[in-house]
Protein backbone atom coordinates (compact mmCIF):
# COMPACT_ATOMS: atom_id res chain seq x y z
CA UNK A 1 0.00 0.00 0.00
CA UNK A 2 1.58 3.31 -1.06
CA UNK A 3 2.07 5.75 1.76
CA UNK A 4 1.81 9.52 1.77
CA UNK A 5 3.80 10.85 -1.12
CA UNK A 6 4.47 14.17 0.51
CA UNK A 7 2.72 14.76 3.78
CA UNK A 8 3.53 18.44 3.69
CA UNK A 9 1.38 19.28 0.68
CA UNK A 10 -2.35 18.70 1.27
CA UNK A 11 -3.14 18.88 -2.44
CA UNK A 12 -0.66 16.14 -3.23
CA UNK A 13 -2.21 14.03 -0.52
CA UNK A 14 -5.63 14.56 -2.05
CA UNK A 15 -4.37 13.72 -5.52
CA UNK A 16 -2.51 10.64 -4.30
CA UNK A 17 -5.52 9.20 -2.52
CA UNK A 18 -7.80 10.07 -5.40
CA UNK A 19 -5.60 7.94 -7.65
CA UNK A 20 -5.68 5.10 -5.13
CA UNK A 21 -9.44 5.46 -4.77
CA UNK A 22 -10.06 5.29 -8.50
CA UNK A 23 -7.80 2.25 -8.80
CA UNK A 24 -9.62 0.43 -6.00
CA UNK A 25 -12.93 1.62 -7.38
CA UNK A 26 -12.27 0.10 -10.77
CA UNK A 27 -11.66 -3.22 -9.02
CA UNK A 28 -14.95 -2.90 -7.11
CA UNK A 29 -16.57 -2.09 -10.44
CA UNK A 30 -15.75 -5.51 -11.88
CA UNK A 31 -17.51 -7.15 -8.95
CA UNK A 32 -20.37 -4.65 -8.91
CA UNK A 33 -21.11 -5.39 -12.58
CA UNK A 34 -21.86 -9.00 -11.70
CA UNK A 35 -24.42 -7.92 -9.10
CA UNK A 36 -26.07 -5.33 -11.29
CA UNK A 37 -26.28 -7.40 -14.49
CA UNK A 38 -27.83 -10.36 -12.71
CA UNK A 39 -30.25 -8.10 -10.85
CA UNK A 40 -31.14 -6.33 -14.10
CA UNK A 41 -32.20 -9.55 -15.73
CA UNK A 42 -33.69 -11.77 -13.00
CA UNK A 43 -34.27 -9.24 -10.19
CA UNK A 44 -32.12 -11.29 -7.85
CA UNK A 45 -29.49 -9.87 -5.50
CA UNK A 46 -26.95 -12.64 -5.91
CA UNK A 47 -25.45 -12.59 -2.43
CA UNK A 48 -23.10 -15.41 -3.39
CA UNK A 49 -21.36 -13.18 -5.92
CA UNK A 50 -18.73 -11.84 -3.51
CA UNK A 51 -17.89 -15.36 -2.40
CA UNK A 52 -17.60 -16.47 -5.99
CA UNK A 53 -14.95 -13.76 -6.31
CA UNK A 54 -13.21 -15.16 -3.22
CA UNK A 55 -13.15 -18.69 -4.67
CA UNK A 56 -11.61 -17.29 -7.87
CA UNK A 57 -8.70 -15.90 -5.89
CA UNK A 58 -8.15 -19.34 -4.32
CA UNK A 59 -8.08 -20.95 -7.76
CA UNK A 60 -5.29 -18.53 -8.73
CA UNK A 61 -3.51 -19.08 -5.42
CA UNK A 62 -3.64 -22.85 -5.81
CA UNK A 63 -2.32 -22.71 -9.36
CA UNK A 64 0.63 -20.59 -8.32
CA UNK A 65 1.23 -23.06 -5.49
CA UNK A 66 1.26 -25.98 -7.91
CA UNK A 67 4.04 -24.29 -9.85
CA UNK A 68 5.88 -23.42 -6.66
CA UNK A 69 5.61 -19.70 -7.32
CA UNK A 70 6.08 -17.78 -4.08
CA UNK A 71 7.61 -14.49 -5.05
CA UNK A 72 8.65 -12.56 -8.11
CA UNK A 73 11.32 -14.23 -10.22
CA UNK A 74 11.95 -14.14 -13.91
CA UNK A 75 9.56 -11.42 -15.22
CA UNK A 76 8.61 -13.40 -18.34
CA UNK A 77 7.83 -16.51 -16.35
CA UNK A 78 5.83 -14.40 -13.88
CA UNK A 79 3.84 -12.84 -16.71
CA UNK A 80 3.08 -16.35 -17.91
CA UNK A 81 1.91 -17.42 -14.44
CA UNK A 82 -0.29 -14.33 -14.16
CA UNK A 83 -1.91 -15.08 -17.51
CA UNK A 84 -2.39 -18.68 -16.43
CA UNK A 85 -4.17 -17.48 -13.27
CA UNK A 86 -6.55 -15.36 -15.33
CA UNK A 87 -7.05 -18.19 -17.82
CA UNK A 88 -8.09 -20.50 -14.97
CA UNK A 89 -10.02 -18.20 -12.63
CA UNK A 90 -12.16 -16.53 -15.30
CA UNK A 91 -13.70 -19.70 -16.78
CA UNK A 92 -13.90 -21.26 -13.31
CA UNK A 93 -16.00 -18.39 -11.92
CA UNK A 94 -18.08 -18.12 -15.09
CA UNK A 95 -18.89 -21.83 -15.11
CA UNK A 96 -19.59 -21.96 -11.37
CA UNK A 97 -21.94 -18.97 -11.61
CA UNK A 98 -23.85 -20.55 -14.50
CA UNK A 99 -24.01 -23.87 -12.65
CA UNK A 100 -25.43 -22.24 -9.51
CA UNK A 101 -28.05 -20.47 -11.59
CA UNK A 102 -28.97 -23.71 -13.34
CA UNK A 103 -29.19 -25.78 -10.17
CA UNK A 104 -30.41 -23.29 -7.55
CA UNK A 105 -32.01 -20.18 -9.04
CA UNK A 106 -33.60 -21.45 -12.23
CA UNK A 107 -36.01 -23.86 -10.51
CA UNK A 108 -37.16 -20.84 -8.47
CA UNK A 109 -37.61 -18.52 -11.47
CA UNK A 110 -41.35 -18.17 -10.97
CA UNK A 111 -41.31 -18.45 -7.19
CA UNK A 112 -41.75 -15.38 -4.95
CA UNK A 113 -38.62 -13.19 -5.03
CA UNK A 114 -37.72 -14.06 -1.44
CA UNK A 115 -37.05 -17.72 -2.28
CA UNK A 116 -34.10 -17.20 -4.66
CA UNK A 117 -32.79 -14.42 -2.40
CA UNK A 118 -32.62 -16.70 0.63
CA UNK A 119 -31.13 -19.42 -1.56
CA UNK A 120 -28.43 -16.97 -2.66
CA UNK A 121 -27.53 -16.36 0.97
CA UNK A 122 -27.34 -20.13 1.39
CA UNK A 123 -25.01 -20.45 -1.60
CA UNK A 124 -22.92 -17.65 -0.11
CA UNK A 125 -22.47 -19.67 3.11
CA UNK A 126 -21.59 -22.78 1.15
CA UNK A 127 -18.96 -20.92 -0.88
CA UNK A 128 -17.53 -19.29 2.24
CA UNK A 129 -17.15 -22.67 3.92
CA UNK A 130 -15.53 -24.12 0.81
CA UNK A 131 -13.10 -21.20 1.02
CA UNK A 132 -12.49 -21.89 4.69
CA UNK A 133 -11.78 -25.54 3.93
CA UNK A 134 -9.58 -24.61 0.96
CA UNK A 135 -7.47 -21.82 2.42
CA UNK A 136 -7.89 -22.22 6.17
CA UNK A 137 -9.11 -19.60 8.60
CA UNK A 138 -6.01 -17.41 8.43
CA UNK A 139 -5.02 -14.84 5.84
CA UNK A 140 -2.74 -16.34 3.22
CA UNK A 141 -0.09 -14.47 1.28
CA UNK A 142 -0.76 -14.20 -2.40
CA UNK A 143 2.58 -14.19 -4.29
CA UNK A 144 3.73 -10.66 -4.98
CA UNK A 145 4.41 -10.97 -8.69
CA UNK A 146 3.83 -7.40 -9.83
CA UNK A 147 6.31 -4.67 -9.01
CA UNK A 148 5.63 -2.05 -6.35
CA UNK A 149 8.11 0.33 -7.96
CA UNK A 150 6.85 3.80 -8.67
CA UNK A 151 6.53 4.24 -12.41
CA UNK A 152 7.36 7.94 -12.03
CA UNK A 153 10.64 7.13 -10.25
CA UNK A 154 11.18 6.64 -6.55
CA UNK A 155 11.76 10.35 -5.89
CA UNK A 156 8.52 11.50 -7.56
CA UNK A 157 5.89 13.14 -5.37
CA UNK A 158 3.07 10.95 -6.62
CA UNK A 159 3.17 7.18 -6.50
CA UNK A 160 1.70 5.21 -9.35
CA UNK A 161 3.06 1.71 -9.38
CA UNK A 162 3.13 -1.09 -11.89
CA UNK A 163 0.50 -2.70 -9.68
CA UNK A 164 -1.84 0.24 -10.03
CA UNK A 165 -1.26 0.16 -13.78
CA UNK A 166 -2.07 -3.55 -13.86
CA UNK A 167 -5.41 -2.94 -12.12
CA UNK A 168 -6.35 -0.23 -14.63
CA UNK A 169 -5.02 -2.37 -17.48
CA UNK A 170 -7.33 -5.25 -16.51
CA UNK A 171 -10.46 -3.36 -15.48
CA UNK A 172 -10.78 -0.66 -18.13
CA UNK A 173 -10.53 -2.91 -21.22
CA UNK A 174 -13.00 -5.36 -19.64
CA UNK A 175 -15.51 -2.58 -18.98
CA UNK A 176 -15.10 -1.25 -22.51
CA UNK A 177 -15.56 -4.75 -23.94
CA UNK A 178 -18.69 -5.27 -21.84
CA UNK A 179 -20.16 -1.96 -22.97
CA UNK A 180 -19.51 -2.77 -26.62
CA UNK A 181 -21.03 -6.23 -26.19
CA UNK A 182 -24.18 -5.00 -24.45
CA UNK A 183 -24.73 -2.03 -26.75
CA UNK A 184 -23.78 -3.28 -30.17
CA UNK A 185 -24.30 -7.04 -30.43
CA UNK A 186 -27.54 -8.87 -31.02
CA UNK A 187 -27.14 -10.97 -27.86
CA UNK A 188 -26.30 -7.85 -25.84
CA UNK A 189 -29.41 -6.10 -27.12
CA UNK A 190 -31.43 -9.23 -26.32
CA UNK A 191 -30.01 -9.01 -22.81
CA UNK A 192 -31.29 -5.45 -22.40
CA UNK A 193 -34.62 -6.43 -23.97
CA UNK A 194 -35.01 -9.35 -21.54
CA UNK A 195 -34.22 -7.04 -18.62
CA UNK A 196 -36.88 -4.55 -19.72
CA UNK A 197 -39.66 -7.01 -20.49
CA UNK A 198 -39.02 -10.76 -20.30
CA UNK A 199 -42.41 -11.73 -21.74
CA UNK A 200 -41.99 -9.46 -24.74
CA UNK A 201 -38.47 -10.82 -25.20
CA UNK A 202 -39.89 -14.35 -25.38
CA UNK A 203 -42.44 -13.18 -27.93
CA UNK A 204 -39.54 -11.95 -30.07
CA UNK A 205 -38.16 -15.49 -30.17
CA UNK A 206 -35.43 -14.78 -27.64
CA UNK A 207 -34.57 -17.83 -25.56
CA UNK A 208 -34.51 -15.95 -22.26
CA UNK A 209 -32.89 -18.85 -20.38
CA UNK A 210 -29.90 -18.65 -22.73
CA UNK A 211 -29.75 -14.92 -22.15
CA UNK A 212 -29.86 -15.40 -18.38
CA UNK A 213 -27.12 -18.05 -18.49
CA UNK A 214 -24.98 -15.69 -20.59
CA UNK A 215 -25.50 -12.97 -18.01
CA UNK A 216 -24.37 -15.23 -15.16
CA UNK A 217 -21.38 -16.31 -17.26
CA UNK A 218 -20.30 -12.73 -17.92
CA UNK A 219 -20.84 -11.67 -14.30
CA UNK A 220 -18.83 -14.69 -13.13
CA UNK A 221 -16.05 -14.04 -15.63
CA UNK A 222 -15.71 -10.45 -14.42
CA UNK A 223 -15.57 -11.67 -10.82
CA UNK A 224 -12.87 -14.15 -11.84
CA UNK A 225 -10.81 -11.41 -13.46
CA UNK A 226 -11.32 -9.22 -10.39
CA UNK A 227 -10.24 -12.01 -8.05
CA UNK A 228 -6.84 -12.53 -9.68
CA UNK A 229 -6.29 -8.78 -9.93
CA UNK A 230 -7.18 -8.45 -6.25
CA UNK A 231 -4.73 -11.14 -5.21
CA UNK A 232 -1.90 -9.56 -7.20
CA UNK A 233 -2.77 -6.08 -5.95
CA UNK A 234 -3.49 -6.64 -2.26
CA UNK A 235 -1.31 -9.77 -1.83
CA UNK A 236 -3.42 -11.11 1.01
CA UNK A 237 -6.48 -13.30 0.57
CA UNK A 238 -8.74 -15.19 2.92
CA UNK A 239 -12.12 -16.87 2.90
CA UNK A 240 -13.58 -13.57 4.14
CA UNK A 241 -12.55 -11.29 1.26
CA UNK A 242 -15.74 -12.12 -0.61
CA UNK A 243 -17.93 -10.81 2.17
CA UNK A 244 -16.36 -7.38 2.55
CA UNK A 245 -15.59 -6.71 -1.10
CA UNK A 246 -18.96 -8.14 -2.07
CA UNK A 247 -20.72 -5.74 0.26
CA UNK A 248 -18.73 -2.78 -1.05
CA UNK A 249 -19.49 -3.81 -4.63
CA UNK A 250 -23.14 -4.36 -3.79
CA UNK A 251 -23.29 -0.89 -2.24
CA UNK A 252 -21.67 0.48 -5.40
CA UNK A 253 -24.31 -1.21 -7.55
CA UNK A 254 -27.13 0.20 -5.43
CA UNK A 255 -25.50 3.64 -5.38
CA UNK A 256 -25.29 3.72 -9.17
CA UNK A 257 -28.77 2.28 -9.62
CA UNK A 258 -29.09 -1.48 -9.40
CA UNK A 259 -29.56 -3.00 -12.84
CA UNK A 260 -27.75 -0.11 -14.52
CA UNK A 261 -24.33 -0.99 -16.01
CA UNK A 262 -22.73 2.49 -16.23
CA UNK A 263 -24.28 3.14 -12.82
CA UNK A 264 -22.37 0.23 -11.28
CA UNK A 265 -19.07 1.59 -12.61
CA UNK A 266 -19.84 5.12 -11.40
CA UNK A 267 -20.98 3.82 -8.00
CA UNK A 268 -17.85 1.69 -7.66
CA UNK A 269 -15.54 4.60 -8.44
CA UNK A 270 -17.34 6.69 -5.81
CA UNK A 271 -17.08 3.89 -3.24
CA UNK A 272 -13.38 3.52 -4.10
CA UNK A 273 -12.89 7.23 -3.46
CA UNK A 274 -14.87 7.11 -0.23
CA UNK A 275 -12.79 4.18 1.05
CA UNK A 276 -9.52 5.81 0.04
CA UNK A 277 -10.17 9.43 1.02
CA UNK A 278 -12.08 8.31 4.10
CA UNK A 279 -9.04 6.46 5.34
CA UNK A 280 -7.03 9.69 5.22
CA UNK A 281 -9.50 12.30 6.34
CA UNK A 282 -11.79 10.31 8.63
CA UNK A 283 -9.76 7.33 9.68
CA UNK A 284 -9.26 3.81 8.40
CA UNK A 285 -11.53 2.21 10.97
CA UNK A 286 -14.49 4.30 9.80
CA UNK A 287 -14.40 3.35 6.14
CA UNK A 288 -16.89 0.50 6.41
CA UNK A 289 -19.22 2.69 8.44
CA UNK A 290 -18.94 5.43 5.81
CA UNK A 291 -19.74 3.02 2.98
CA UNK A 292 -22.79 1.62 4.73
CA UNK A 293 -23.94 5.09 5.73
CA UNK A 294 -23.97 5.86 2.00
CA UNK A 295 -25.96 2.69 1.38
CA UNK A 296 -28.57 3.73 3.93
CA UNK A 297 -28.78 7.32 2.69
CA UNK A 298 -29.23 6.11 -0.90
CA UNK A 299 -31.89 3.57 0.06
CA UNK A 300 -33.81 6.21 2.02
CA UNK A 301 -33.57 9.20 -0.31
CA UNK A 302 -32.93 7.82 -3.77
CA UNK A 303 -33.61 4.08 -3.89
CA UNK A 304 -33.34 4.08 -7.69
CA UNK A 305 -29.68 5.16 -7.38
CA UNK A 306 -27.75 7.87 -9.19
CA UNK A 307 -28.34 6.62 -12.72
CA UNK A 308 -31.16 4.18 -12.04
CA UNK A 309 -34.23 4.33 -14.18
CA UNK A 310 -37.65 4.96 -12.76
CA UNK A 311 -39.38 1.89 -11.40
CA UNK A 312 -40.07 -0.72 -14.03
CA UNK A 313 -42.57 0.19 -16.72
CA UNK A 314 -45.83 -1.64 -16.33
CA UNK A 315 -48.75 -0.84 -18.56
Amino acid sequence: MPLFADATDPWLTLLQFTVIGLTKGSLFALIALGYTMVYGIVELINFAHGDLFMLGSFVAFTILGLFGVQSAGDPYADAGFVLLCFAAAIPFCAALNVAVDRVVYRPLRNAPKLAPLVSAIGVSFIFMNVGLFWGGSQDVNFPNLVSDDNLFGETAKIRFTAKDLMVIGVTVPLMVALTVFVKFTSLGTAMRATAQNPTAAKLMGINTETVIATTFAIGGALAGAASVTYGLYINTISYQIGFQNGLYAFTAAVLGGIGNIPGAVLGALIIGLVVSLGSVYVGERWTSALVFAILIVILVFRPSGLLGSRTREKV
Binding site: T189, R192, A193, Q196, N197, L203, G205, I206, V315
Partner: protein, 237 residues
Protein backbone atom coordinates in the same frame (compact mmCIF):
# COMPACT_ATOMS: atom_id res chain seq x y z
CA UNK B 1 -55.87 -27.12 -44.86
CA UNK B 2 -56.04 -24.51 -42.14
CA UNK B 3 -52.87 -22.56 -41.38
CA UNK B 4 -53.77 -22.66 -37.68
CA UNK B 5 -56.06 -25.21 -36.11
CA UNK B 6 -56.79 -25.14 -32.39
CA UNK B 7 -58.75 -28.02 -30.89
CA UNK B 8 -59.91 -28.10 -27.28
CA UNK B 9 -57.42 -25.56 -26.03
CA UNK B 10 -57.42 -25.46 -22.24
CA UNK B 11 -55.17 -23.07 -20.37
CA UNK B 12 -55.06 -20.99 -17.23
CA UNK B 13 -52.97 -19.79 -14.36
CA UNK B 14 -52.21 -22.18 -11.52
CA UNK B 15 -55.38 -23.94 -10.48
CA UNK B 16 -57.59 -21.44 -12.33
CA UNK B 17 -58.86 -22.43 -15.75
CA UNK B 18 -59.38 -19.53 -18.13
CA UNK B 19 -59.96 -21.33 -21.41
CA UNK B 20 -62.54 -24.07 -21.71
CA UNK B 21 -62.05 -26.19 -24.83
CA UNK B 22 -61.51 -23.35 -27.26
CA UNK B 23 -61.46 -24.48 -30.89
CA UNK B 24 -60.68 -22.17 -33.76
CA UNK B 25 -59.14 -22.16 -37.22
CA UNK B 26 -57.42 -19.58 -39.35
CA UNK B 27 -56.98 -20.27 -43.06
CA UNK B 28 -54.09 -18.87 -45.05
CA UNK B 29 -54.94 -15.39 -46.29
CA UNK B 30 -57.72 -14.76 -43.77
CA UNK B 31 -58.30 -12.07 -41.18
CA UNK B 32 -60.01 -13.73 -38.22
CA UNK B 33 -61.32 -11.65 -35.33
CA UNK B 34 -61.88 -12.89 -31.81
CA UNK B 35 -64.16 -10.62 -29.84
CA UNK B 36 -65.33 -10.75 -26.27
CA UNK B 37 -65.59 -8.85 -23.04
CA UNK B 38 -62.74 -8.06 -20.71
CA UNK B 39 -61.66 -11.28 -18.99
CA UNK B 40 -63.22 -13.61 -21.56
CA UNK B 41 -59.84 -15.23 -22.25
CA UNK B 42 -58.80 -13.54 -25.49
CA UNK B 43 -55.31 -12.60 -24.34
CA UNK B 44 -54.86 -15.97 -22.63
CA UNK B 45 -55.67 -17.63 -25.96
CA UNK B 46 -52.93 -15.70 -27.75
CA UNK B 47 -50.46 -16.22 -24.89
CA UNK B 48 -51.16 -19.97 -25.00
CA UNK B 49 -50.61 -19.99 -28.76
CA UNK B 50 -47.28 -18.20 -28.27
CA UNK B 51 -46.23 -20.67 -25.58
CA UNK B 52 -46.06 -18.07 -22.79
CA UNK B 53 -48.96 -19.77 -20.98
CA UNK B 54 -48.62 -23.56 -21.19
CA UNK B 55 -51.65 -25.22 -22.78
CA UNK B 56 -52.97 -28.01 -20.55
CA UNK B 57 -52.84 -31.68 -21.50
CA UNK B 58 -55.25 -32.61 -24.25
CA UNK B 59 -54.98 -29.27 -26.01
CA UNK B 60 -54.03 -29.43 -29.66
CA UNK B 61 -52.54 -26.57 -31.65
CA UNK B 62 -51.44 -27.34 -35.19
CA UNK B 63 -49.65 -24.56 -37.01
CA UNK B 64 -48.52 -24.94 -40.61
CA UNK B 65 -48.78 -28.73 -40.30
CA UNK B 66 -46.90 -29.15 -37.00
CA UNK B 67 -48.04 -29.54 -33.41
CA UNK B 68 -46.78 -26.54 -31.45
CA UNK B 69 -48.70 -26.81 -28.17
CA UNK B 70 -45.69 -28.01 -26.20
CA UNK B 71 -42.97 -25.93 -27.87
CA UNK B 72 -41.14 -23.11 -26.07
CA UNK B 73 -41.95 -19.54 -27.21
CA UNK B 74 -38.77 -19.04 -29.24
CA UNK B 75 -39.46 -22.17 -31.29
CA UNK B 76 -42.98 -20.98 -32.01
CA UNK B 77 -41.72 -17.62 -33.30
CA UNK B 78 -39.13 -19.43 -35.42
CA UNK B 79 -41.92 -21.39 -37.09
CA UNK B 80 -43.65 -18.20 -38.16
CA UNK B 81 -46.22 -17.38 -35.50
CA UNK B 82 -45.56 -13.86 -34.18
CA UNK B 83 -47.55 -11.62 -31.89
CA UNK B 84 -48.02 -7.95 -31.20
CA UNK B 85 -49.05 -8.23 -27.55
CA UNK B 86 -51.66 -6.42 -25.52
CA UNK B 87 -50.36 -3.17 -24.09
CA UNK B 88 -47.76 -3.15 -26.91
CA UNK B 89 -44.88 -4.25 -24.63
CA UNK B 90 -42.26 -2.42 -26.64
CA UNK B 91 -38.80 -2.18 -25.05
CA UNK B 92 -38.93 1.42 -23.77
CA UNK B 93 -35.20 1.98 -23.31
CA UNK B 94 -34.16 0.39 -26.59
CA UNK B 95 -34.20 2.57 -29.69
CA UNK B 96 -36.92 2.12 -32.28
CA UNK B 97 -34.38 0.44 -34.55
CA UNK B 98 -33.23 -1.92 -31.79
CA UNK B 99 -36.85 -2.85 -31.08
CA UNK B 100 -37.30 -3.76 -34.74
CA UNK B 101 -34.07 -5.74 -34.77
CA UNK B 102 -35.27 -7.71 -31.75
CA UNK B 103 -38.34 -8.63 -33.79
CA UNK B 104 -35.97 -10.29 -36.26
CA UNK B 105 -33.98 -12.05 -33.52
CA UNK B 106 -34.66 -15.56 -34.84
CA UNK B 107 -33.57 -14.66 -38.37
CA UNK B 108 -30.07 -14.80 -39.79
CA UNK B 109 -30.67 -13.54 -43.36
CA UNK B 110 -29.19 -10.04 -43.14
CA UNK B 111 -30.33 -8.84 -46.59
CA UNK B 112 -33.88 -10.01 -45.86
CA UNK B 113 -33.87 -8.22 -42.49
CA UNK B 114 -32.63 -5.01 -44.11
CA UNK B 115 -35.37 -5.26 -46.73
CA UNK B 116 -38.03 -5.78 -44.05
CA UNK B 117 -36.70 -2.80 -42.09
CA UNK B 118 -37.09 -0.66 -45.19
CA UNK B 119 -40.63 -2.02 -45.55
CA UNK B 120 -41.45 -1.11 -41.93
CA UNK B 121 -40.26 2.44 -42.48
CA UNK B 122 -42.25 2.68 -45.72
CA UNK B 123 -45.35 1.45 -43.89
CA UNK B 124 -44.84 3.72 -40.86
CA UNK B 125 -42.62 6.67 -41.93
CA UNK B 126 -42.66 8.12 -38.41
CA UNK B 127 -40.72 5.06 -37.18
CA UNK B 128 -38.01 5.79 -39.73
CA UNK B 129 -37.81 9.42 -38.68
CA UNK B 130 -37.46 8.48 -35.03
CA UNK B 131 -35.46 5.25 -35.41
CA UNK B 132 -32.61 6.32 -33.12
CA UNK B 133 -34.87 7.55 -30.31
CA UNK B 134 -35.80 5.48 -27.27
CA UNK B 135 -39.07 3.70 -28.02
CA UNK B 136 -40.51 4.83 -24.69
CA UNK B 137 -40.59 8.39 -26.05
CA UNK B 138 -43.05 7.50 -28.84
CA UNK B 139 -46.73 8.39 -28.53
CA UNK B 140 -49.23 5.60 -27.87
CA UNK B 141 -50.21 5.32 -31.53
CA UNK B 142 -46.59 5.27 -32.63
CA UNK B 143 -45.80 2.59 -30.05
CA UNK B 144 -48.64 0.49 -31.47
CA UNK B 145 -47.20 0.92 -34.96
CA UNK B 146 -43.82 -0.14 -33.59
CA UNK B 147 -45.33 -3.21 -31.90
CA UNK B 148 -46.94 -4.31 -35.18
CA UNK B 149 -43.83 -3.55 -37.24
CA UNK B 150 -41.70 -5.42 -34.69
CA UNK B 151 -43.90 -8.53 -34.94
CA UNK B 152 -43.68 -8.33 -38.75
CA UNK B 153 -39.88 -8.30 -38.54
CA UNK B 154 -40.07 -12.03 -37.71
CA UNK B 155 -41.53 -12.42 -41.22
CA UNK B 156 -44.40 -14.47 -39.77
CA UNK B 157 -46.83 -16.68 -41.64
CA UNK B 158 -49.53 -15.66 -39.19
CA UNK B 159 -49.63 -12.34 -37.38
CA UNK B 160 -51.49 -12.21 -34.06
CA UNK B 161 -52.61 -8.81 -32.82
CA UNK B 162 -53.85 -8.30 -29.28
CA UNK B 163 -56.02 -5.19 -28.86
CA UNK B 164 -54.26 -3.00 -31.42
CA UNK B 165 -56.83 -0.23 -30.87
CA UNK B 166 -56.45 -0.06 -27.09
CA UNK B 167 -56.16 3.51 -25.83
CA UNK B 168 -55.78 5.10 -29.26
CA UNK B 169 -57.59 8.05 -30.82
CA UNK B 170 -60.28 7.04 -33.37
CA UNK B 171 -58.35 8.33 -36.42
CA UNK B 172 -55.28 6.35 -35.36
CA UNK B 173 -57.42 3.24 -34.89
CA UNK B 174 -58.68 3.55 -38.47
CA UNK B 175 -55.12 4.04 -39.70
CA UNK B 176 -53.93 0.91 -37.86
CA UNK B 177 -56.77 -1.20 -39.23
CA UNK B 178 -56.11 0.04 -42.76
CA UNK B 179 -52.51 -1.11 -42.39
CA UNK B 180 -53.77 -4.51 -41.23
CA UNK B 181 -55.99 -4.75 -44.30
CA UNK B 182 -53.12 -3.76 -46.60
CA UNK B 183 -50.91 -6.42 -45.03
CA UNK B 184 -53.66 -8.98 -45.52
CA UNK B 185 -54.05 -7.99 -49.17
CA UNK B 186 -50.34 -8.67 -49.59
CA UNK B 187 -51.02 -12.20 -48.33
CA UNK B 188 -50.55 -11.98 -44.55
CA UNK B 189 -52.88 -14.11 -42.42
CA UNK B 190 -54.08 -12.29 -39.32
CA UNK B 191 -55.67 -13.35 -36.03
CA UNK B 192 -56.89 -10.28 -34.22
CA UNK B 193 -58.27 -10.00 -30.71
CA UNK B 194 -60.32 -6.91 -29.96
CA UNK B 195 -62.72 -5.31 -27.55
CA UNK B 196 -63.53 -2.84 -30.30
CA UNK B 197 -65.79 -5.44 -31.90
CA UNK B 198 -67.31 -3.18 -34.53
CA UNK B 199 -63.92 -2.24 -35.97
CA UNK B 200 -62.55 -5.76 -35.85
CA UNK B 201 -65.61 -7.32 -37.52
CA UNK B 202 -65.66 -4.63 -40.19
CA UNK B 203 -62.16 -5.59 -41.32
CA UNK B 204 -62.23 -9.35 -40.65
CA UNK B 205 -63.46 -12.20 -42.83
CA UNK B 206 -64.67 -14.37 -39.99
CA UNK B 207 -65.23 -13.89 -36.30
CA UNK B 208 -65.42 -15.83 -33.04
CA UNK B 209 -67.22 -14.67 -29.91
CA UNK B 210 -65.52 -15.71 -26.68
CA UNK B 211 -67.46 -15.68 -23.40
CA UNK B 212 -65.86 -16.77 -20.10
CA UNK B 213 -63.36 -18.97 -21.87
CA UNK B 214 -65.73 -20.63 -24.35
CA UNK B 215 -66.41 -19.98 -28.01
CA UNK B 216 -70.13 -19.24 -28.06
CA UNK B 217 -70.57 -18.11 -31.65
CA UNK B 218 -68.67 -18.22 -34.89
CA UNK B 219 -69.63 -17.00 -38.34
CA UNK B 220 -68.69 -14.73 -41.20
CA UNK B 221 -67.82 -11.31 -39.82
CA UNK B 222 -70.61 -9.65 -41.81
CA UNK B 223 -73.15 -12.05 -40.28
CA UNK B 224 -71.90 -11.42 -36.74
CA UNK B 225 -72.14 -7.66 -37.34
CA UNK B 226 -75.87 -7.98 -37.95
CA UNK B 227 -76.55 -10.64 -35.30
CA UNK B 228 -78.91 -9.18 -32.68
CA UNK B 229 -77.09 -10.86 -29.74
CA UNK B 230 -73.73 -9.55 -30.91
CA UNK B 231 -75.22 -6.13 -31.52
CA UNK B 232 -76.70 -6.03 -28.04
CA UNK B 233 -73.68 -7.40 -26.20
CA UNK B 234 -70.71 -6.00 -28.10
CA UNK B 235 -71.81 -3.19 -30.36
CA UNK B 236 -73.74 -1.24 -27.76
CA UNK B 237 -77.04 -1.24 -29.63
Amino acid sequence: MALLRIDNLNAGYGPVNVLDNVSLTVDAGEIVAMIGANGAGKTTTLMALSGIVRPRNGSSVVFDGDHIESLPPHEIVRRGLAQSPEGRKIFPRLSVLENLNMGAFTRKDRPGIAADLAKSFAMFPILGERKHQAAGLLSGGQQQMLAIARALMARPKLLMLDEPSLGLAPQIVVQIFEVIRDLNQQGMSVLIVEQNARMALKFAHRGYVLETGRVTMTDAASVLLTDPRVRAAYLGE
